[in-house]
Each structure stands twice: as structure tokens, then as C-alpha cells.
């Protein structure tokens, strides 16, 4: 199935899921377009894995609807499952089989066979950098190599949409970078990727759009710049001396939204630090004020998360 870019491939409408009295998902709605690298950010227990389980057909929502490629998706839709790949949070490969045997097995489950299968296995092994170890048992691999093979198993059947659930958990930096580049390459090749993580740096680096999930609800869903705009930037200037009227002059600078006196200086609130900072420095020079400290506080995803949820991401 060739899905045109910008066409919606995944639509989640008001999903609710609870386990007994515990509400895991509380009215989650999302929309992912073809070719997007979509981030699902949230702390442990936010409902990411539950949401992913529903999206992969592992369990059913109590209410709401999942549409995959425009069709309602549930556990019985084996035809749609063929279009889905999943890189699980925990490894899901056989340690007593070789890397090649693992990939052959998962390829066959999705209907690949013969020479196309062998070619695909070789291709995927090369893409995750495991060609040299293809015929070694996975049990002898390092954690990072297993993670890479886990990703290879998820894409062996060339899915249309790939769910990656915390794919870098417990891996070394080298394998992490390898996985990153692999994910990016897959996305560049047109694969839609839903990437869940509780590492903001990963999501920031990889994802075009990010949904922040907390307490089973989507707190925000937008591009990174737009999410960052939810918070103001702050420029803190420490001064050795002060002059009357300096606070008013700061407030009148273009881009300055407000000025607050702080101990030994002032804090200027702005939308865009690069525009404001030169102007602040020029004003100080003009008035002969000696600057003791400059402290720039730009909005980060972490601060956005704190702003939206009221708690740190790694709480």
C-alpha cells in the first residue's frame, strides 16, 4: 500500500482504556500523517505502552476508535497488522537463534519466502550493522546489538508504519546513535514512525511532531517550535550599579514583554532571545552600566513538560 505524504495514516479518536479502577488512557486523540516521525513523550506510567498496545492490536480500547490507513483497526484486522511494525520496549528476539534465523523467522510470519526473504534479511542485517554477526546466536550479542536486531525484526517485512517503544533503553551510545540514524533513514525513506520515549533529548532530536502524554491524557501535540512557544524566554542581567529609568528603557526594547527587578539586576521576559539580547547589551553600554552576569533562560521541552504537567519528566 502506497500512502501519499500528508495523508492521515493513523487516527486515534477519544480512546479510553482502564484496568479495573486504574485509568490508563483517558480520551486520547491523535493524528499522524504519512511519512511523519511522530514522538510520543511521557513519563513512565503515562499510558504510552498501553496506547501502543492498542495501536498494535495487542489489546482493545474500552471506547474510542483507531483508524489505520483510513480503516477501523482492531485485534481481528490481520490484514492491517501486516502493515505494522513494532520495536518493543523489551527485546523480543530469540537468543538461541542466530540473527539471520531470527529475521528469517519473523519475515516468514509476514509471508516473505525464498530469495526475496534472503535478500531482505541481508539488506536489513546490513542496515543495522550486523552482517558480520549474522550467523552468531543472539545470546552472544551485546545489549546494543540485540537492540539493533530488535529494530531489524520490526522492519523485516517492510511495514508502512513503525511503532518504536523506548527503543534505546539500556543501550550504549554507539548503538543508540546507530538506532537514531537507522530511524532517520527509515523515515527519510517514507516510513511513518511513532517513537515513544521518556527521553526528551531523543524526541527533540528525532521527531517533527510531539505529543505529550501524561496521566492517560494528551497534554499537548504539536511541532517542537510550537510547543516551545508555550513558554517565554527570559534574559537575566546582573548589574554592578543601577541608574534611574533603566527598568523603563528595558521594557520599551522591541521584543521585551515585561521586566521584573531581581536581586542585583533585572529579568526581561521575551519571545525571542536572539533578538532581545543584543539590544539589552547595547543599552547597558550606552548607559555605562557594568554587567556582572548574563543568564539566558530559553524554553526547553523539559520546561514545557513541567509547565504542562506540573512535574518533572523523570519524576
Amino acid at each position: 500500500m502506497i500512502v501519499p505524504m500528508s495523508e492521515t495514516v493513523l487516527e486515534v479518536v477519544n480512546i479510553r482504556k482502564s484496568y479495573g479502577k486504574t485509568v490508563a488512557l483517558d480520551g486520547v486523540s491523535l493524528r499522524v500523517v504519512a511519512g511523519e516521525l511522530f514522538g510520543l513523550l511521557g513519563p513512565n506510567g503515562a499510558g504510552k505502552t498501553t496506547l501502543l498496545s492498542i495501536l498494535c492490536g495487542l489489546c482493545e480500547a474500552n471506547s474510542g476508535e483507531v483508524r489505520l490507513f483510513g480503516q477501523i483497526f482492531n485485534r481481528t484486522r490481520r490484514d492491517l497488522r501486516r502493515l505494522v511494525g513494532i520495536g518493543t520496549q523489551d527485546l523480543s528476539i530469540y537468543p538461541d537463534l542466530t540473527a539471520r534465523e531470527n529475521l528469517r523467522f519473523f519475515g516468514r510470519l509476514y509471508g516473505l519466502a525464498g530469495k526475496p526473504l534472503e535478500a531482505r534479511v541481508d539488506e536489513v542485517l546490513a542496515s543495522v550493522g550486523l552482517t558480520d554477526r549474522a550467523d552468531d546466536r543472539v545470546g552472544t550479542f551485546s545489549g546494543g546489538m540485540k537492540r539493533r536486531l530488535n529494530l531489524a525484526a520490526a522492519i523485516i517485512h517492510e511495514p508502512q508504519i513503525l511503532f518504536l517503544d523506548e527503543p534505546t533503553t539500556g543501550v550504549d551510545p554507539q548503538s543508540r546513535n546507530h538506532i537514531f540514524s537507522q530511524v532517520k533513514a527509515l523515515n527519510r525513506a517514507g516510513l511513518t514512525v511513532i517513537y515513544t520515549s521518556h527521553y526528551m533529548e531523543e524526541v527533540q532530536e528525532l521527531c517533527e511532531r510531539i505529543a505529550i502524554l501524561d496521566g492517560g491524557q494528551v497534554r499537548a501535540c504539536d511541532t517542537l517550535p510550537n510547543l516551545l512557544k508555550l513558554l517565554d524566554a527570559r534574559v537575566r542581567v546582573g548589574l554592578a550599579t543601577d541608574v534611574p529609568g533603566f527598568e523603563d528603557r528595558l521594557a520599551r526594547l522591541p521584543g521585551a514583554k515585561s521586566v521584573h527587578p531581581i536581586a542585583g539586576g533585572y529579568e526581561v521576559v521575551t519571545d525571542f532571545v536572539p533578538q532581545l539580547l543584543p539590544l539589552v547589551l547595547a543599552l547597558c553600554a550606552e548607559l555605562g552600566l557594568r554587567i556582572t552576569t548574563i543568564d539566558l533562560r530559553e524554553p526547553t521541552l523539559e520546561r514545557v513538560f513541567l509547565h504542562l504537567t506540573g512535574r518533572e519528566l523523570r519524576d
Binding site: 495487542l58 518493543t88 509471508g111
Partner: protein
């Protein structure tokens, strides 16, 4: 296709699992080997409280059978022994085998009927003279067995048992010999030879006067009858003519004169002097008198039948014939070589441990399922475009193949290593192995559906298999179990499998209906176990 893919993967994993190979293949073989070496000859045979009398019968029998006995004397003796319910006869084919059994202490005593036993028995008689010369089989200790060609081989290390067997033999021989000898002797009473001997004895003795005097009435009757007879009177007329009338007229006086003469002892002594008493016992008299004498003696001792020649007949008791069920051919069940190859105990050990360890499949299968969860691959299978049935079938198929291979391997190894015989129906043996595999795989997936960790699999699985093995009789011969326990054990699939194997490996003519029934029940167990597992198993 997906099912086969899953099955091939699991089969590969199972084959790479050294732990399973040790449990399923190596351990049972080692146990069979150790027990095969350690257990005694009678292992697995139901205890028989009857006294075993082992016999080597080399008796050539008689050249012809005319009346009694109708078969070789050795058979008569064996029949008498086997007619006793508490005795069982074991027939050993030759003396060398018997001597070997005695030498290794396997038998306390063995009776050997020598080739001339029948001939010697036929010569046993109370008579002093006969042709061939008679044998007196008795002495103060009873029957002189060796004189009759009945040897008793004894193990000197088992004197008590050997003595019991010898005494039992003595009693039997007395029961056989005494009526035979009495019967033979009694046949002689009053027979022609006997009466001739009597007549000969009396021939030289003069008739005593008293005997002649007692003959007076007989002579008188004879004379009266003679002169009343027309033919005699005609003969008289012809011989004497006119004098005949005179003679007839004097007959009363003549009879009176004879009567007077018989009254005189001296006269009788004189006239009887030249006449032997035996002369009176003419052949015709002997023929008339002999049988009557014999009948009269029999009548006199009518509680017994001296002509019967059998113990029951002599005592006029109910005849007890030999019980063929109490006879059996000796089979060497001890095996040969270091491994005791061919020993009958392997016919029990191999199927018992095969059944027991086929059900140890629960461990391998359980670990396979646990590993699937532990490695997270079950999740990937659930995400893949597979049905629940495909996933379960993908597990069942390789397990079934492994189980079948295990059964075939153990029976083949049993044949090669331990000389196990596959019975008369190896085709049915394969069927039973297959049905047992189905039941074992069913139980294995049931355990796998319950256990969540490797430890749970090991604990639940081992406990279950050992308990079921104990209840079913896999750990001990089923024949040794009390009947009630045997019935209870049929709640286990192992018991049905063992019963089927017992038919196939222990019965020369196996009961096919019983075997097919057991196979049906094993399949039933497999289906029920699998359905419960299907219901319980968290595959989605």
C-alpha cells in the same frame, strides 16, 4: 504456512535445548540401564505363592500303550503334581539348562525324568517274579527315585526348599506307584497262572479223608442223576443187555453202600492216598474258581478298588486330572551379557520409563512457553498477522514431533541396547507411542498455560509427572499394584499407556480391542488437556 514456520522455529529451539535432550532421552536410558543391572530376575512378575517344581522330562515313554497307563509314566507323575492347586510345574527343556540354573542358585531342586523312567515304572511290582524282572521301588525312606530313573538335582545352598520339593515328589510317587502296583498284583489274584500255581501246590498232597467224606452227598447226587438220565440208561442197556435191569435195580443199594463207605475214615484215607488235591483243580475248575476268588476278595475289601491302578480309583474318590494351567515352559528371563540383554525386566522397564519420561515433556514445553514470554517474542507473535489457533498449533506440532521421536528413540534404544522385543504387533506399538505422545503434549501445554516462570514449570511439572507416574504404575510394575489402586490409576493417561504396552510387549497374543481402547482414551486425554489449555492460555 505460518503454523509450519512457528513449528519449525520451535523444533529448532527444542533440538538446541541440551537440557531437554538430557531429560527426555538420556535420563530414561540411564535409569533403565541402572535398574536393569540392579533388579533381580523376577522383577515385574506377579508373586506366585505356589510351589514351583521344575522338571526336565527326558522320558522316552513305553514302546506301546495297552490299557494303563495311556501315556508316559513321567506325564502321569507330572499330572499328579500339577493337579495340586498349590503347585506349579515349570518344564525345562534339557538337563544342561537345569544344571545351569542349579549352579547359579536360581532353582533349589530340579526333577529329571531319565529316558527309561517309563520302562522302569512299568516294572514296579509286588511280585517276586515277572518278565522283565520286577523292581521293588520302596525302601525305608519311601520311593527309591533314582532306581526308577527320577533324579533330583539339588542346590546344596538351598537344602530346605530342595527337601520340600523332594518330599512332595515322594508323596506323588507313592500316589502313583501304590495303586499301580496293587492293581497289577490284584490282576494276578485268581488268574490262570495264579490258579495253576495253586493247583500245582496241591498236586502232590493226597486228598484228606475228611474231604472225601464231605464229597459223599456230591457222589450220591451224581449217581441219582446218572441213573435217572435216559441217555445213560440207554448206554447201560447197550453195554449190559439183560443185566442192565439188574444193575438198575441195585442202584439204591449201591448208593447206600457208597454212603456207608464214605463214612469210614480209614477207608477214605486209603482210597484217597493216591489222589492229589491239585488233581481236583482241573483247568476248567480253575477257570471257574479263579475269577470268583478275585471277586470275592474285592467284595471283602469293598471300600477300595484294587483294580483301579490310580490313587483316586483305589480310594474310590473323585478323579483329579492334571491341570495344564499349572504348567509352563521355562523361559530364560535373566538376559545375557553385561547388560542382561533380553531380560524380561526390560519388557517392563523400557515402556514404564518411556511413558514416564514422555510426560516429562511438560518441562520442555513449559520452558518453551515461558521463554517465549521471557524473551518478549510472544508479544511479537501476537502483533504478527497470526491467529490464536496458529500460534497454539505452531507450538503443539513440534512438541508432538519431539515426543514421537522420543518414544521411537527409547523403544529403538531399548531394542538395540537391552534386547527389548517389540512383540508381535510393532505397528500397534507405534500407534500407542503416537497416542501417548498426544496425551503427553496435551498435558504439557496445559502445564504451560498455568506456569508463568521456569521455576513454576520445573516445580509443577516435576511434581505432576512424578505423582502421575507413581499413581499410574510407571515407577513400579502395574502387576504389583493392588487391584483397587489399579482401578484408581486409570484416571491417569500413563496407566492406559502402560496397559497397552503390557499387552503389546508381554502378551504373545495381544488383545487388540484393549489396545485400541487405550489408544482412544489417550487421544481423549490429549484433546481434553489441549482444550483446557486453549481456554486458559493467554495468547492474546
Amino acid at each position: 504456512m505460518a503454523t509450519l514456520t512457528l513449528a519449525a522455529k520451535d523444533l529448532r529451539l527444542l533440538l538446541r535445548d541440551a537440557r531437554s535432550a538430557i531429560i527426555l532421552l538420556i535420563t530414561p536410558l540411564l535409569l533403565i540401564l541402572v535398574l536393569g543391572l540392579a533388579l533381580g530376575e523376577g522383577f515385574g512378575e506377579k508373586p506366585d505363592e505356589r510351589l514351583r517344581i521344575s522338571v526336565v522330562n527326558l522320558d522316552r515313554g513305553l514302546s506301546k500303550y495297552d490299557g494303563f497307563p495311556e501315556k508316559p509314566w513321567s506325564e502321569v507323575v507330572i499330572d499328579d503334581l500339577s493337579a495340586t492347586p498349590d503347585i506349579r510345574i515349570e518344564l525345562i527343556k534339557d538337563r544342561a539348562e537345569a544344571e545351569k540354573l542349579i549352579a547359579r542358585g536360581s532353582r533349589a531342586a530340579v526333577l529329571v525324568f531319565e529316558p527309561d523312567f517309563s520302562a522302569d515304572m512299568s516294572r514296579c511290582s509286588f511280585l517276586t517274579r515277572a518278565d522283565p524282572p520286577p523292581i521293588n521301588p520302596f525302601d525305608r525312606d519311601g520311593v527309591r527315585l533314582r532306581e526308577l530313573g527320577l533324579a533330583v538335582l539339588k542346590d546344596p545352598t538351598q537344602p530346605v526348599t530342595a527337601s520340600i520339593i523332594e518330599q512332595v515328589t515322594q508323596v506323588t510317587m507313592l500316589r502313583v506307584l501304590i495303586p499301580w502296583m496293587i492293581g497289577r498284583a490284584f490282576e494276578r489274584v485268581g488268574d490262570k497262572t495264579f490258579m495253576e500255581a495253586v493247583a500245582a501246590k496241591l498236586r502232590d498232597e493226597s486228598i484228606p479223608p475228611s474231604v472225601l467224606q464231605e464229597l459223599d452227598p456230591v457222589v450220591q447226587k451224581l449217581l441219582t442223576a446218572l441213573f435217572a438220565d435216559k441217555e445213560f440208561l440207554a448206554m447201560l442197556d447197550k453195554q449190559f443187555g439183560l443185566l442192565a435191569g439188574t444193575i438198575k435195580g441195585q442202584v439204591p443199594k449201591f448208593q447206600q453202600l457208597i454212603h456207608e463207605a464214605f463214612k469210614k475214615p480209614e477207608l477214605m484215607a486209603r482210597i484217597g492216598k493216591g489222589i492229589g488235591l491239585g488233581e481236583v483243580m482241573t483247568p476248567a475248575v480253575r477257570d471257574e474258581v479263579g475269577p470268583r476268588v478275585r471277586d470275592e476278595v474285592q467284595e471283602l475289601l469293598s471300600n477300595y478298588d484294587f483294580r483301579a491302578k490310580t490313587w483316586a480309583g483305589l480310594n474310590k474318590d473323585r478323579m483329579r486330572s492334571g491341570n495344564m494351567a499349572n504348567r509352563s515352559e521355562y523361559k530364560d528371563t535373566s538376559g545375557s551379557g553385561f547388560l542382561n540383554r533380553g531380560a524380561v525386566r526390560y519388557q517392563i522397564l523400557v515402556p514404564s520409563f518411556t511413558v514416564l519420561f514422555m510426560f516429562f515433556l511438560v518441562l520442555s514445553v513449559g520452558w518453551l512457553f515461558v521463554a517465549e514470554r521471557k524473551h518478549g517474542t510472544l508479544l511479537r507473535l501476537r502483533v504478527a498477522p497470526l491467529t490464536r489457533a496458529q500460534i497454539l498449533m505452531g507450538k503443539l506440532l513440534p512438541c508432538l514431533m519431539v515426543s514421537l521421536a522420543q518414544g521411537v528413540f527409547l523403544f529403538t534404544a531399548g531394542w538395540l541396547l537391552f534386547g527389548l522385543t517389540w512383540g508381535s504387533r510393532p505397528d500397534l506399538l507405534l500407534l500407542v507411542v503416537s497416542c501417548t505422545s498426544v496425551a503427553a503434549v496435551g498435558l504439557a501445554v496445559l502445564v504451560a498455560s498455568i506456569a508463568r516462570t521456569e521455576t513454576q514449570v520445573a516445580v509443577y511439572g516435576t511434581l505432576l509427572v512424578l505423582v502421575l507416574g507413581g499413581v499410574s504404575g510407571s515407577l513400579m510394575p502395574r502387576d504389583l499394584m493392588p487391584e483397587k489402586m489399579k482401578s484408581v490409576s486409570l484416571v491417569t493417561p500413563q496407566a492406559w499407556a502402560l496397559d497397552a504396552y503390557a499387552q503389546l510387549l508381554g502378551n504373545p497374543s495381544p488383545n487388540v480391542v484393549l489396545i485400541l481402547g487405550a489408544c482412544g482414551i489417550l487421544l481423549g486425554f490429549g484433546v481434553v488437556f489441549t482444550l483446557i489449555a486453549w481456554w486458559r492460555m493467554d495468547l492474546e
